[in-house]
Symmetry: C2
């Protein structure tokens, strides 16, 4: 297997910077290079030694790279795949993008790229380098989505890297991935932002309403603090599965609404018990 000496991370947001920190701590590579379009971020990455070298130029950043890791929002990842092909980059590449079908379809257009998609199921509502966490990927599930034509070497290199960062690698095809994350991540996000926006409209500037906030509100709205651009791209590139999820959510919500409206205690107990039972069965305690 080819020895990975240099990894270039494109996008030094919370995810990219966490990846850089984890990579450095694991001492897996000789050189970590960062690329970010924002000059301030490049400066911050250098000042805080997040990477060994950082630049705003993709061409400069990928020079001598054995592996390029695309750590931007999904629509940008698709543009970067095209840019890598144009720059005649022929090394390994992966991404940290939150949807996989659109990314993998785009990657397939560039046969010379040794690309395999990956999606670490880890995140934070914190943004940028200040939100970076060296342990973000430890024990996190990382979904890899190789295609039939994906280079076996790329799969090996990227799988090996994730394993050394102590992530749990799971293999899925891109469609299966996108549907599963819609259920487990994108619908909860839809719900979280909608809860936050609904509360503000209902409170109608009476902000004392928020003075009585307890854990339930804090927890259900935590992910509403996440990056809008990243989530815009997720909704745009996983449109079908997210719309399917919203349709089902609305159906369930209408059933609950009807039970409340009809003061149907038995039906309310049934719906609430179902949720309690599933939650206890599917989500390990103390998490």
């Amino acid at each position: 297997m080819k020895k990975i000496k240099q990894v270039t991370i494109v996008g030094l947001g919370m995810m990219g910077a966490s990846f850089a920190l984890a990579l450095r701590r694991a001492q897996l590579v000789e050189r970590i290079v960062g690329v970010d379009v924002h000059a301030m971020v490049v400066k911050e990455a250098c000042a805080k030694s997040i990477t060994d070298f950082a630049t705003s130029s993709l061409a400069e950043g990928i020079k001598n790279a054995d592996l390029v890791v695309l750590a931007t929002p999904v629509v940008k990842i698709m543009e970067l795949l095209k840019a890598l092909a144009k720059l005649k980059y022929t090394g390994f590449a992966t991404d940290l993008g939150s949807t996989k079908k659109a990314v993998c379809d785009e990657a397939q257009r560039y046969a010379e790229l040794k690309f395999v998609g990956s999606h670490p199921m880890a995140g934070s509502e914190m943004a940028g380098i200040p939100g970076a966490n060296v342990r973000l990927f430890e024990n996190a599930p990382v979904i890899m989505t190789p295609l039939r034509h994906t280079s076996v070497e790329a799969i090996e290199v990227v799988t090996n890297l994730w394993k050394q960062l102590k992530a749990r690698v799971i293999v899925m095809d891109p469609e299966e991935h996108d549907f599963s994350v819609a259920v487990i991540s994108h619908i909860p996000h839809v719900v979280s932002i909608t809860t936050m926006n609904t509360a503000c409209i209902l409170a109608d500037n009476r902000e004392d309403v928020f003075s009585i906030m307890a854990g339930g509100f804090r927890d259900t709205t935590r992910i509403a603090g996440a990056d809008p651009q990243m989530w815009r791209d997720i909704f745009l590139t996983n449109r079908t599965a997210v719309l399917q999820g919203i349709a089902e959510f609305k159906k369930q919500l209408c059933e609950l609404e009807a039970a409340i409206n009809n003061e149907d205690g038995a039906q309310l107990t049934e719906i609430l018990s179902q949720a309690q039972c599933s939650r206890k069965r599917l989500v390990p305690p103390n998490q």
Copy 2:
């Protein structure tokens, strides 16, 4: 002010048992008595010294009580107020119920009861005595809902008790309370159980979908693990405000759905930024 020697807590679930533990640690009273309809709970309360004495009999439990604390689901609290009046209890009384209009209306029917409603904004998805937490009320907002005819002495006694347990006392009228908690607690609960039930239906027994679960799903569904009976009573006794909240939530959800359906990136960014901005402004960091 009358010295409180004995407090009787009716309902030794997670809330009642936490109240007993907090009261004992603060060494505020001479005797803590527990009442619970379940013989097993009475036994457990005695075995674990949650209270100084426990019984299944309300009449026995309230004997010599200076203050009775009703810590059951709301509909049961209303029945207990009637039972206290029937037993000719004339001491102080309060409750820990999650809605206040229905409870205070019922309490007003019994002029001899020195009742003032309170609602600690603290909870847990844990149930029963094993879920009890001696620090549950520390720094928690506790909403008290005195009415025009409420005994001033009752207000003093109950306020004083909460303050000694280190809770933050906030005064509201019952309608204002019920609307505020609908926004901050009941709608998030509606959303949490609906997210849980929707995920199960979408996953359709393919439980490997849940193997990729990350923090977002765990947080948004945490409160779905709470007691169904308690929440049935909340929905039944705060029907109007909860239905109003659901109607607004559905409106917001439909706007987001339309933006996704129309692939309207600008509108998605707008909705997501609004939620992010509100969340950052209204929810203190690190919570």
